[in-house]
């Protein structure tokens, strides 16, 4: 059911193309850097440090989450590109299972997102944020899980998207709300109750909460983590499995 060589080569293709398209790499890295460096510094002068945290320190976990969100969604949306430009057929008529294609896409999307998260982490000393080695390792580990979760969600969406026209709708009605309702930029506890409920069904909330456990360990809500680490990990893992299963199933559908 799962064939390793096809999965390997599907991943390789994504990596080759990712590093070949420099604009995509720069684009996804520029966003969090802009937020941290420009907005973060700008807000620092406006917002007094709360509970010993500057605004830039507060949004840092959220910016890792944002990098992963955009990178993972972009990677998985490549399925729509593949379909539009015919390459998907090359994979569909090959003697490989649909599950292998989905897993290949999920792994490559995850690894590319983690790679970008690592680049952001390596840039932190220039932003005045200092991590211990242990924190670095913990964040990378969590980044794997969160990336896998968001990529799976993206693949599920991509599998159901018929054309590229739907992409803008996904960006405006899913990706941006996911970002704004995840506690990446402000504590979600300050939101009105209706919006707060939305944050609870957002997988990214739990992902970013995991990063907060590592980075803002000593802070209490609203600035620090909201849920227990166990709950965060459980929910992110659970959502990943559900999303990936549905994605594989919707790929298998055939008339």
């Amino acid at each position: 059911m799962i064939q390793l060589r096809p999965i390997y080569v599907i991943c390789m293709r994504e990596f080759v193309k990712f590093f070949r398209e420099k604009s995509r790499l720069l684009g996804t890295l520029a966003r969090p850097i802009l937020w941290l460096f420009v907005v973060g510094n700008g807000m620092n002068s406006l917002i007094k440090p709360q509970a010993g945290l500057s605004y830039m320190q507060f949004i840092f976990p959220g910016m890792i989450g944002m990098t992963i969100l955009f990178s993972s969604i972009f990677s998985s949306i490549s399925i729509v590109w593949d379909r539009e430009f015919g390459f998907m057929k090359e994979m569909l008529v090959a003697p490989i299972s649909r599950l292998s294609i989905v897993i290949g896409k999920a792994i490559s999307g995850t690894l590319i997102s983690v790679a970008q998260a690592i680049i952001i982490l390596l840039l932190t000393p220039f932003l005045g944020i200092h991590l211990t080695f242990l924190q670095f390792v913990e964040i990378v580990a969590a980044a794997f899980l969160v990336s896998f979760c968001i990529t799976s969600l993206g693949i599920l969406i991509a599998a159901r998207l018929t054309s590229f026209d739907g992409f803008n709708i996904i960006m405006n009605f899913l990706v941006m709300p996911m970002l704004f309702l995840s506690g990446a930029m402000y504590p979600v506890t300050s939101l009105p109750p209706t919006l707060r409920h939305l944050t609870h069904i957002n997988p990214l909330t739990y992902g970013i909460d995991t990063f907060k456990h590592v980075l803002l360990k000593n802070s209490a809500p609203p600035m620090g983590p909201e849920f227990s680490l166990m709950l965060d990990l459980l929910i992110v893992t659970g959502i990943s499995i559900v999303m990936l299963t549905f994605a594989a199933l919707s790929f298998r559908r055939k008339e």
Partner: protein, 327 residues
């Protein structure tokens, strides 16, 4: 038993029957053509054979493998060249071929040798490490043929292999297919709506509205049209048809603003035709029968009139269902 076996194959898209109970057999090593207008059901049949679609009823086997029950085995036995390019334009020629080799689980050492071998055949060795973006339409098509053959398939499917290519490139592609046939001993199954292209096949199935209306060698099909074909343009075609029927007892058919009639010994017939026809004749020409004349005889239409009118709906319906199927 042929390498491809199709029995009572039917495919319905909602209310529309794209393929309507067709049966045929393709022998190992032959070039078999599906000829018909757009929307006749050619691509739908190919998509069922290559397991991208499931048939509504009937059965199809390739190299002994059932297309529904053993899709993976059937898929490893075939190579496919689709109507639209399915290369990744962001990768090089070599990377596209390597990707393919991995999907088909080709032996690692064999892969490199086979890639070079196929690139030589399609004369793209010097473009091995260039991005597909920089390739012309004909080069892309050649590379796709190389890719389709990389995993030693037993049947090569070509869906409108030269659609959208200029006549010169079309000829080059056919030269490749002929050479490949000698070298690789492969069965070729192709669809086309170009008559000239269909002439290259060993056997042709003429398909219209989802049904096979004739199946034979091009020569035998053309023999169905008796004698020669005269194309005639007159000042009043309607009246000319009546007059021809009255005087010669021959039924002429209207085509592209002119008349077509079949007669034996056309060269001797023309003088008497011009002499006795009371309608002014603007031009007259004599040809040996083509497959287009066969199609005209069988259906009363030419393939080209059909192309973009009646079957728009079929095409649209197909595209929709096809997209769904690809997910």
């Amino acid at each position: 038993m042929g390498i491809i076996n199709v029995q009572n194959l039917t495919k319905k898209f909602k209310s529309l029957t794209a393929v309507d109970g067709i049966s045929f057999e393709v022998n190992e090593g032959e070039v078999f053509g599906f000829l018909g207008p757009n929307g006749a059901g050619k691509t739908t049949t190919i998509n069922i054979l290559c397991t991208l679609l499931w048939p509504t009823s009937g059965s199809a086997t390739i190299a002994g493998y059932d297309c529904v029950k053993q899709p993976d085995e059937a898929r490893s036995s075939i190579g496919l060249i689709f109507q639209d390019t399915t290369l990744d334009s962001g990768l090089t020629a070599y990377e596209n071929l390597k990707f393919h080799a991995y999907l088909y689980n080709l032996d690692r050492k064999l892969t490199e040798r086979r890639i070079d071998e196929m690139l030589d055949v399609v004369e793209l060795q010097n473009r091995k490490h260039d991005l597909i973006k920089t390739f012309s339409g004909g080069m892309k098509r050649r590379l796709e043929i190389a890719r389709g053959l990389l995993h030693y398939p037993r049947v090569l499917f070509l869906d409108e292999p030269t659609l959208g290519l200029d006549p010169q490139t079309r000829n080059t592609i056919w030269d490749f297919i002929t050479t490949l046939r000698k070298k690789e001993k492969i069965t070729v199954f192709m669809t086309t709506h170009y008559m000239e292209e269909a002439e290259n096949c060993d056997r042709i199935a003429i398909i219209d509205h989802g049904k096979i209306i004739a199946l034979d060698s091009p020569a035998r099909l053309k023999a169905m049209v008796h004698g020669d074909v005269i194309h005639l343009v007159t000042a009043d075609n309607k009246r000319a048809i009546e007059e021809i029927r009255r005087i010669f007892n021959i039924s002429a058919q209207e085509e592209n603003g002119g008349l077509v009639l079949e007669v034996e010994k056309g060269d001797e017939f023309i003088p008497s035709l011009l002499h006795s026809l009371p309608v002014q004749t603007l031009s007259v020409s004599l040809t040996k029968p083509t497959l287009n004349d066969v199609f005209l005889k069988l259906t009363g239409r030419t393939i080209r009139d059909e192309a973009f009118q009646d079957n728009k709906e079929i095409t649209r319906e197909f595209v929709r269902s096809h997209r769904r199927a690809q997910r």
